[in-house]
Amino acid sequence: MITASEYTFKILRYDVKEPEIESCFESYRIKVIPGLTILAVLLRIRDEIDGTLSFRSSCRSAVCGSCAMVINGKIDLACRTQVAIFGSNTIILEPLPNFEIIKDLVVDMTPFWNMYEKVKPYLIRKSPDPEKEIQQSEEERRRIDQFVNCILCASCYGACPVLARDPEYIGPAALAKLERFALDSRDERAAAELEEINSDKGVWGCDMVLRCIDACPKDVRPTDSIVGLRKKLLKYKLFGKGKG
C-alpha cells in the first residue's frame, strides 16, 4: 500500500491585471502520495481547490518545456520533480525569475523568444541543396548533440545572474541555439555574422558562474556554447575569416 501524506504548497500569486494588489504566497494543504510530481499536485489544486490558479503545462514528461518554475528555491520542470525528494512537507513554488509575471506561475516569455529570434536560429546554407541529404558524419552529428537537446524551457534564462541585472543580455538559451548551428557541419553562416553577439550584451556578458548548467533539466551546458562562440570570434578577429 502507498500511503498519502499531507503537504503544504505555498504558491506565489499575482495578476498583472490587478497591479495594485501585491504578489503574495497562498497556502494549499493537500494529501498526496510520494510518487506524485509537482505538476500532478498543481493540477489537483486547480481542479479541486482553487480554479483561479494559473500555471502552464502540457506533455507531463519533460519534453515540451512548458512548466519550468522555481521549486523550493531551485529551478526545474514541475512535471519531472517529485514531491517527495525535498524531505519536507512544505513546498514553495514561484514563477521563473527574470520575466514579468502574467498571472501566478505564468510568465511573459516574449523577451526569451525575442532573443531566440535574434541569433538567426536556423540552418543557413549558401550552397545549393543536393538531391538527397547533405552528408554528415556520425562524429559531426554528435558534436551538436547536447545543444540539439535544448527544449527552450527558459530554465537557464531564469537562472542567469547577468539577465537579472541586464535584461538586454541575450541569455544562455539563445547562445546555445546559435552554437548548435555554428557547430553544425552543414551550416554556412559566415563568421562575420557572429558580430551580433560580439558584445557585452552577447557572449562577453556571461559571468561564467554556470548557473545555467545547474538549472538545465536536459543536461545542456550553455556555458560550453559561450566558450565555443568566444573562441570562434577571437579566431575571426585574429585571422579575419572562417566559418561561423
Binding site: M1, I2, D15, K17, G35, T37, L43, R46, D47, E48, D50, G51, T52, S54, F55, R56, S57, S58, C59, R60, S61, A62, V63, C64, G65, S66, R80, I102, K103, D104, V106, D108, M109, W113, Y116, E117, K120, P121, Y122, L123, R125, D129, E131, K132, E133, I134, Q135, Q136, S137, E138, R141, I144, V148, N149, I151, L152, F181, D184, R186, D187
Partner: protein
C-alpha cells in the same frame, strides 16, 4: 476583428509545415493554444518513415513497398491513393527537412540513419536518437522563424464559423489578454492534434483534448472512422509516458512474469515488431490471463532492453533512459521497464480527402486531427510524423489552389453573431451551474478506458454510450469558479470538455455499431474482419437534434486487394 487570408490552428508539425508553405504568398496567421514549440509533435520519439533505402539491409526498399506495408498495417481500411501520395512524398519530405537543418542520426557513410519499426518489411524509419519529434518540430519552428510566420501563441480557438457550406473563420480567446476575438479568413486549416485525453490512460499531452475535432464536428463537419483508436503497447506504468517502439526496433524484448518472450506465441515471425494493435492485444492478454507482474501502480509486462548494452542505450535511447530514471526511478540499463498498453493515437478524425479538403469550402484538416485516411484501422509506427508533414505540405498546395480560384467573401456578420453566442456561453459557464469540469472529465475518461479499450464488446459499448449521455447531461450544468478570462485554464478546460464529450460520443457509437474486428478495433463478440459488410469508413455528422448521425463511405482501393492480414 482580425483578418487573414489563411488561418492555421495548431502549431505542431502539420500546422507549421502548412504555414511555411503559404506565408510567402499569403497573409497567414497561426494560432496555437500553447507556444508552437510546446505542441505534442515534440513528444514523438521513434522516427519518420521514408523509403530512402539508406540501411544496408534495405537497398531495394521503395515507396511502393512502404505503401503496401501501410495498407496492410491499416487492415485495408486506408484509402490507397492517399497512402501512395504520402509514401511517395515521404522521401522528398525527409530530404527537405534535412536541408532545413533537421539533425537526423547518421549511418557511418554520412547518410540519414534508418531503423526497423513494427509492421514494416524494411528498416525505413529515419530518426534522431529517440527525439525525432523534438528535432522535426524544432526544425519547422526554426523555418517558420526564418520566414517570419505570424504566430498567435496562447490563442485558443473556441468555435469555427461556417454557414453550412463555407468557412468564414474562427472565434478565439486570447489567453494573455482575456479577450474573445473573431478572426476572419478566406481559408482555415485545423491542425489541432489528437484526442488522447478523452481516455483516462493515455500517452498524450494534457493539451491533446481533441477539442479541434469537436469544434469542427459541432460546426457540421463530418468525422470519419472515430472508433479506430490506437493503443500503444509500451507505456510506462503510472504516468503512461510513451516508451518508444524504437526500444523494440533496436532489439528490446517483451517478457512476462515467467521471463518468457511471449510474442512467440502470438506472432512468431515478427515477435516484438508486430504492428501495434497486435502487440497491445498480446500484452493485454498476458496481463488478463495472469502472466503479468504486480506493482502498486498496476499490473504490467516487462520491456527489457538491458541486453542492448549501456553504449547502445545511451546513444540510441537516451531520453527513454532519462524518463525512466526521472519518472519511475528505474535505470533501463540495469532493470527492465514496467509497461502497459494504453491510448496513444487517433486514427479517426475530421473527414478529409487526400487534399485535406472537407465538406465545408475553405475549411481544411491535416495531421492527427484529420482522417484522410492513410492509417485506416491501425497506424504503423513512424507514419504519424510523416502524415503531419506530408499533409501539412499538401494542405498548403490545396489552400493555394483554392485562394487562386476567384474571390472569396467572408461574412463579418456571421462572425460577430458567433462571437456573441460564445460570450453568452462563457458567461453562463462562469455564472451558473454547479458541476466541476474535472469530475465530469474523470467520469468520461474512465468510461472510455474501461469500455472502449483494446478489447470491446456490445454490452460494454452500450454502457459507454449510456454513460456518455449521462455526463453530457451533467455538462449542461458545468461551472467555472474563476471569473477572469485571461490565463483561465479552468475555463479552457470547461470549454474543451464540451467538445471532448462529442468526440467521445462518436468514438463509442462507432465502436458499438461496427460489428467486426479490424486493426485496433477488436470486438470479442465479432472477432474477425468482415469485408463483405464492413470494408467501409464510418462517417459521423451532427444531426439537427445534436445527436450523431452515422453513415458510411467507400474505401478507395487501387493496387492492393484486401487479403488476410498475417505477419
Amino acid at each position: 476583428m482580425l483578418n487573414h487570408d489563411v488561418l492555421i490552428i495548431g502549431g505542431g508539425l502539420a500546422g507549421l509545415r502548412a504555414a511555411v508553405g503559404l506565408c510567402d504568398k499569403y497573409n497567414v496567421g497561426l494560432l496555437s493554444k500553447v507556444y508552437p514549440i510546446r505542441s505534442h509533435s515534440i513528444a514523438a520519439q521513434g522516427g519518420i518513415n521514408a523509403a530512402l533505402a539508406n540501411n544496408p539491409n534495405a537497398k531495394d526498399d521503395t515507396w511502393e513497398k512502404h505503401t503496401f506495408d501501410t495498407v496492410k498495417g491499416s487492415d485495408y481500411l486506408s484509402d490507397q491513393h492517399a497512402v501512395e501520395i504520402m509514401c511517395k512524398e515521404a522521401i522528398k519530405i525527409v530530404y527537405e527537412m534535412e536541408h532545413w537543418g533537421c539533425p537526423f542520426s547518421r549511418f557511418p557513410d554520412g547518410s540519414i540513419a534508418q531503423r526497423p519499426f513494427g509492421g514494416a518489411g524494411y528498416p525505413r524509419t529515419c530518426y534522431s536518437a529517440d527525439l525525432t519529434g523534438h528535432v522535426l518540430l524544432n526544425t519547422l519552428n526554426e523555418r517558420a522563424t526564418a520566414k517570419g510566420v505570424k504566430f498567435y501563441p496562447e490563442w485558443f480557438v473556441i468555435a469555427l464559423v461556417t454557414d453550412g457550406g463555407q468557412c468564414h473563420g474562427v472565434i478565439a480567446l486570447d489567453l494573455k489578454n482575456g479577450e474573445i476575438v473573431p478572426i476572419r479568413a478566406k481559408a482555415t486549416l485545423f491542425a489541432t492534434g489528437g484526442y488522447g485525453r478523452v481516455y483516462f490512460y493515455s500517452t498524450n499531452a494534457l493539451i491533446n483534448t481533441g477539442s479541434g475535432i469537436g469544434i469542427a464536428y459541432k460546426a457540421g463537419v463530418p468525422l470519419k472512422d472515430m472508433e479506430f483508436v490506437q493503443f500503444h503497447p509500451t507505456t510506462l506504468i503510472g504516468t503512461n509516458i510513451l516508451m518508444t517502439e524504437a526500444c523494440r526496433g533496436e532489439g528490446g524484448y517483451l517478457t512476462n512474469k515467467d521471463g518468457e518472450r511471449f510474442m512467440k506465441r502470438y506472432v512468431p515471425s515478427a515477435m516484438e515488431l508486430a504492428p501495434r494493435d497486435i502487440v497491445s492485444r498480446s500484452i493485454q492478454t498476458e496481463i488478463d490471463e495472469g502472466r503479468g507482474l504486480e506493482h502498486p501502480l498496476g499490473k504490467y509486462i516487462n520491456l527489457d532492453i538491458r541486453h542492448l548494452g549501456a553504449q547502445k542505450i545511451l546513444e540510441r535511447l537516451p531520453s527513454i533512459r532519462n524518463i525512466c530514471i526521472d519518472f519511475i526511478g528505474i535505470d533501463p540499463i540495469l532493470e527492465p521497464i514496467p509497461i502497459m498498453p494504453c491510448q496513444h493515437y487517433s486514427m479517426g478524425g475530421i473527414d478529409t480527402n487526400e487534399k485535406c479538403e472537407t465538406d465545408i469550402k475553405g475549411f481544411y484538416g491535416a495531421g492527427e486531427c484529420a482522417c484522410v485516411s492513410v492509417h485506416g484501422a491501425n497506424r504503423l509506427g513512424g507514419n504519424s510524423l510523416l502524415e503531419t508533414i506530408a499533409f501539412g505540405k499538401l494542405a498548403s498546395f490545396a489552400i493555394d489552389e483554392y485562394l487562386q480560384n476567384g474571390e472569396i467573401k467572408s461574412d463579418e456578420g456571421l462572425l460577430m453573431s458567433k462571437k456573441e453566442e460564445m460570450e453568452k456561453r462563457i458567461h453562463k459557464l462562469i455564472h451558473e451551474g454547479n458541476e466541476k469540469p474535472y469530475k465530469i472529465l474523470a467520469d468520461l475518461s474512465k468510461t472510455m478506458s474501461a469500455y472502449v479499450g483494446i478489447f470491446r464488446k456490445k454490452e460494454e459499448l452500450e454502457q459507454a454510450v449510456k454513460n456518455i449521455a449521462e455526463v453530457k447531461e451533467r455538462y449542461k450544468n458545468v461551472h467555472v469558479t474563476s471569473t477572469k478570462l485571461h490565463m483561465n485554464h479552468e475555463l479552457i478546460n470547461a470549454i474543451e470538455l464540451g467538445y471532448m464529450l462529442e468526440v467521445a460520443h462518436t468514438i463509442a457509437l462507432g465502436a458499438y455499431l461496427r460489428e467486426e474486428s479490424r486493426g485496433a478495433h477488436f470486438r470479442r463478440d465479432f472477432n474477425t474482419r468482415n469485408d463483405a459488410d464492413w470494408l467501409k469508413h464510418t462517417i459521423a455528422k451532427i444531426g439537427k437534434d445534436g445527436e450523431p448521425v452515422i453513415s458510411s463511405k467507400k474505401v478507395v482501393i487501387t493496387n492492393y486487394q484486401p487479403m488476410e492480414r498475417k505477419y
